[in-house]
Chain length 321, copies 2
Amino acid sequence: MAGPFAIAYEDVLTAAERIRGRVHRTPVVTSQTFDTLAGRRLFFKCENLQRVGAFKFRGASNAVARLDATRAARGVVTHSSGNHAQALALAARERGIPAFIVMPRTAPAVKRNAVAGYGGQIILCEPTLADREATAARICAETGATLIPPYDHPDVMAGQGTAALELLEEVPDLDAVMAPVGGGGLISGVAIAARGFRPGIAVYGAEPAAADDAARGKATGVRQDQAPPKTVADGLMTTLGALTWPVVRDAVDAIYTVDEAAIIDTTKRFWERTKLVIEPSSAVPVAAALGEAFRAARPEIRRLGIILSGGNVDLDHLPWR
Amino acid sequence: MAGPFAIAYEDVLTAAERIRGRVHRTPVVTSQTFDTLAGRRLFFKCENLQRVGAFKFRGASNAVARLDATRAARGVVTHSSGNHAQALALAARERGIPAFIVMPRTAPAVKRNAVAGYGGQIILCEPTLADREATAARICAETGATLIPPYDHPDVMAGQGTAALELLEEVPDLDAVMAPVGGGGLISGVAIAARGFRPGIAVYGAEPAAADDAARGKATGVRQDQAPPKTVADGLMTTLGALTWPVVRDAVDAIYTVDEAAIIDTTKRFWERTKLVIEPSSAVPVAAALGEAFRAARPEIRRLGIILSGGNVDLDHLPWR
């Protein structure tokens, strides 16, 4: 693979040391049912069982731990209403520093409550990207707090990569790993970690067909925008960042896309058979692994690791209702 | 404790040897959130992750394995539409013998399909206990198959007890164990296993207030009937059997009851926080451990093991909808 990228394998190893004992070493589970459906052995890395219910706590913990004492004391800022917001709030609380979370005033109460429950200070803004960025910038200026973006940041990318490192430490002889692709923080960290640990390994991304900027980017060689997508996999609606895109372009073998029906069906079937709650974003790589395109293209892959990115769902509004 | 009972500790040990490698050794998980809610350390034995999604596979496997070759060849029979039916079907299939499952013709398609999926031969009957028993007796007479009842049978009780044995092997210093109470197969096996492994341990049962025959039995010293109960914990509607009742009477310290709202709320909260799908019957002991009655009565219990009995739910009909 080419490079240099925003992070190297050593950054993932250092991140793993730094966050050891702060993040859960999540289990790797298997399922005969899904092995049969996929036609190969699958190894699921359960980041749904990570603290705050998502891999995001790895990157947030690494980024917060990296701050020197003076900067850290002024706190951290992000604009997010998803898992990164909760992750940053908890990582900051554990270091004893403030976390300022900019959220659109339209964010559901359940998400606000989750952030507040982890001690985050919520600042509401208008539901536009411009106002989110402007509000976050204002908070930074007023408080001296450090902006920790949700994916396009070396410390965040390196932290997310530790999920793949742990997976390979437990199952070293994987032929390939697959992870969902949103902003690219997870897939880029996974790619750098997996290829560093086992140079010959294949790395695949999976994304909703309705939010396929990474697949289009790979096809054209140019980072793609996308109109605000409509997908049940609400963790994967962002586009790749300036730092994550080169890793996806050069260190990810292929991106597979899946349609909404497959995402929903796979989410439900996964709950039924494994008794593990995963969010639809986590079901995206599972659905890709079960899909015809992947099965036809990659018969040589016998043992595939899949990162289950998270398990945060609103049980009052399930996607199959 | 008194006795003798239908099973002794040695029967549980023998059952554990007999079913080793056929049943999953399920994990024990913990949750800071639930520890805080309970005011003590909780250790959850995840029988929702057992094969067929419930502890029932332990007892069915033990009972099927105990049959000599001649009897086994004629097959096994039960009348059940729940987890025991699926468990017996799979245990029989793995031994290469037929399983005849008598089900009421009103049983939902999802339950019929589950039994058929494990290779069980379904015989429909009228939805009355009399016709279920008569039909099962007719099948036994016609085929020579052996009736394996869902709970009131020594091999079934001993098999279920292996769940507590494994829990204590992994967490030996528990002060108490708690399990849900339906027909009593699980709680009786658990009580014999736990007291055999660790004589000073406390053993508690938990049941829906709407199906409280065990609690009334303990209060009066006499086995109780109950009108067909209406509870969301559909695995716990049966009454104690002739063999399980004496164990509950003499070897279980107390039965705690919980109301329907607590069962539903605890089920949902458990999914949300642990990302593990449990069925409402499994939430019954969790709700009891979190309830005021138990907390007030048992301050000395620091480390409590809880058997999560199963995870089979209909995701299209969740109890909080």
